[in-house]
Structures are given as structure tokens and as C-alpha cells.
Symmetry: C2
DNA sequence: GGGCACATGTAAGCTGTTACATGATTAA
DNA sequence: TTAATCATGTAACAGCTTACATGTGCCC
């Protein structure tokens, strides 16, 4: 219970890299953390307001009127460290692809093949993106202290994507065989017809 | 929007294998689908009631008074197929481990190593469990039509777990190096001190 | 007869998403 | 001047979890 507000952790973390407006925060979370984290828009502003009330972030003037830069305070940094030290809360899994494949008998081998092909293409796309992120990270000179940690997460993405591709290839083979077995229900092996 | 009620799909799917009580349904979802799906208890009975209203499942008498067996009806099977054919809805990711590592600079290399070690141990545990499930599935003779599909999901779990282990080993190495670099901030390479 | 596993449900409450409302600045 | 982008927020609602309430049958 009391699944603590992980939005706070993500917001404080992003602000620990550099001060931003709420809008930029949303984009940073979407574009940078997007592969393993998400925050909906309606969470970010309330979280910022709450953090401001607690003195963990402060609002500064920004170039644009009507906009504010939010910056993390020393007590915010302390809170971030505290939050990051909490045990990782397991997320109840909900993998729609696996659900479909598990009951794949209802769909048949062909439809399952299509699902797996789609998943394979997704994984290829992700792999390519991870690799271009890795490229960017190794080239640019900003945030040298953060970079090695960022690369860990990129590496996790690459491993996961490669595993997904390898699995998909195996699954496609298995489904092909299954398809043939269904089309030709009696193998020529003797003795099965009694 | 209208994130359709995926609970229905899981419930219909489970009942497509065999009729069950609501209680058994919960256990089946936890124990069999648990690695890639979860339903909370408070969702299952309302879903069953809703499905019964729609004529997709029917309630039969069971051995125990006070308990009912729920069985899928022909229109329920049709609905299941329809549901399974819907595109897979991407789940907004929320990987607490990656969030911590991404902001790992705040925690330091040692604490990150501990996190990765924990993740590695988890993956090992899961891998062992997948392999014992595979064993069971290849031995038993029940549900021969479903089995090949179930094995696909087991295989996905194995691939994912192995990838997690490989990634963890790589990450542990990287973190060790980082730790040494932090402890000894000036490498003996000449010329760095101007 | 006490405890445990089986069994069915409801209610409160939290989290998170989507849509809406509003307004400033900039570029076409 | 109109559209797009930047910017800040709120409100309604869907989804899910947890805890509670209640009862039966079986085994020790």
C-alpha cells in the first residue's frame, strides 16, 4: 500500500540534472526517460506544486513571462537521494502480447505469427534508437558525471531489445511448424491411426 | 482512451481452458499468468458479473454449496477471439530500477552495484522458475492444443531473464570501473595536470 | 470447536489519464 | 492575424488495489 509518489522521484531527478520549466520537464521525461518511465501531464504540475510547498524545489523567474524555471534545492537533493534509496517497487506486470499468445490457440498460428512479427519490428526499432542514443551520449561532452549511469540504462534497453528479437525468431519458427502440423493433421508416422 | 477492460480478456481466456470458480480463477491468473499478467482480486468478481450479464459466461452449480463454477459460452468464445484480435495496447513503462540507475550519480557506484546485484538475483530466480515450468509443460499430457502457445510465453520469459543477467554482469563491470575512477580521480596518465 | 482453505462479494480510496480552460510569444 | 509552440494549471473519470464483511466445509 501507500505506493509512494514515484512522480516526485522522477521530477526531482530530472531537476537534479538542470533547472527546467514544467513544460520542459514533461518533454524531458517523455524524450529522455521515455523508454523506461512515463509521467502523465496532469501529474507533473501537482507534483511540482507539492514539492514547492515542501521546499524541495524553488520557482525562479524565467526568460518568458508567465513561465517559471523550477530548480532543485539542497533539501530537494537530500530527498531525491532518500527516494532513490527506497527499495524498487515491483510493478504488477501486464504484457498484452503475452496474454494474446498464451491464449493463442483461439487466434491460430497465422494471427500469432503476425503479432510476433510486429513485436519483432518494434524491438528492431527500439534497438536502432538505443544505438543512436548511445552514439549521441558518447559524442557529446555535457554531463560527464551522469553519462556512465545513463549508458547503463541504454545498455539494458539494448539487451532487452536483442533478446526480444531472438525470441521472436524462435517463436516464428515454432509457429510455422505448428501451422504445418495443423494444416496436415496426420503426420506420416505410422501407427497413429490405430 | 477507453482503455478497454483487459480483465475481461484474461478472465475469458482462463475460462476457455476450463471452467472454474472465481476463486480458482484468481489463483490461476496469479500462478499461471503471473509472470506477465496480473489481476487484482477486486476486479475478478465484478468482471465475472458483467460477463454473466452479457451472456459470455454462465454460472453452473459446483460441488460446494455457496460456490459456482463459471463456464465460457459460445458467445463468450467469440468475444474472446474478438478481444484477442484487438491491437496490443502499449503499457506506459515504469521501471523503478532504471529510474534509480539513470539518476545513479546521486546514489554512487556502490549503491548502484547493490541494486544491479539484486536485479541479477531476481533474474536468476525467474530463469530457474521458467525452466521448471517448461519441464512441467513438456512432461504433462493435458491441454495438448494449448501447450505450444504456452511454451512461447515461457520462452519469452527465459530470453528476457537471460538478457537481464547478461546486462547485469556488464553493468557490474562498468560500475566497478567507475568506482575505481572515483576513488582515484587522477589516472596516472601523464599530461592531464596541464 | 478452532483454525484453515475455499468462496463470493462490496466499499473506500488512491493513482494516473484525458480532456478542458486559459493565456503568452513567435513565426508565417 | 492566424497558427503553432510554449506554458500552467484543473476537473472528471477510469482503473486498480486494499481492506473489509460474510459464510461454508473440512480436518485435527
Amino acid at each position: 500500500m501507500a505506493r509512494q509518489n514515484q512522480t516526485e522521484t522522477a521530477v526531482l531527478g530530472a531537476l537534479s540534472v538542470r533547472p527546467m520549466t514544467g513544460y520542459a520537464l514533461r518533454e524531458a521525461i517523455r524524450d529522455v526517460l521515455g523508454y523506461f518511465w512515463s509521467e502523465s501531464f496532469g501529474q507533473i504540475y501537482p507534483a511540482l506544486a507539492e514539492l514547492e510547498r515542501g521546499g524541495y524545489v524553488e520557482r525562479r523567474d524565467s526568460a518568458r513571462p508567465g513561465a517559471s524555471m523550477f530548480a532543485i534545492t539542497p533539501s530537494g537533493t537530500a530527498r531525491l537521494k532518500e527516494r532513490l534509496s527506497q527499495p524498487v517497487q515491483p510493478v504488477p506486470p501486464r504484457n498484452g502480447l503475452m496474454l494474446r499468445l498464451f491464449f493463442g490457440r483461439q487466434l491460430g498460428p497465422e494471427a500469432c505469427r503476425a503479432l510476433v512479427l510486429e513485436a519483432r519490428a518494434d524491438a528492431e526499432r527500439r534497438l536502432a534508437q538505443y544505438q543512436s542514443i548511445r552514439q549521441e551520449l558518447t559524442e557529446e561532452q555535457e554531463d560527464p558525471e551522469d553519462r556512465p549511469y545513463w549508458l547503463l540504462t541504454v545498455s539494458a534497453g539494448e539487451h532487452t531489445a536483442r533478446a526480444a528479437i531472438a525470441w521472436a525468431d524462435e517463436a516464428l519458427d515454432a509457429l510455422s511448424e505448428l501451422d504445418q502440423a495443423t494444416a496436415e493433421p496426420r503426420p506420416r508416422k505410422e501407427g497413429t491411426t490405430t
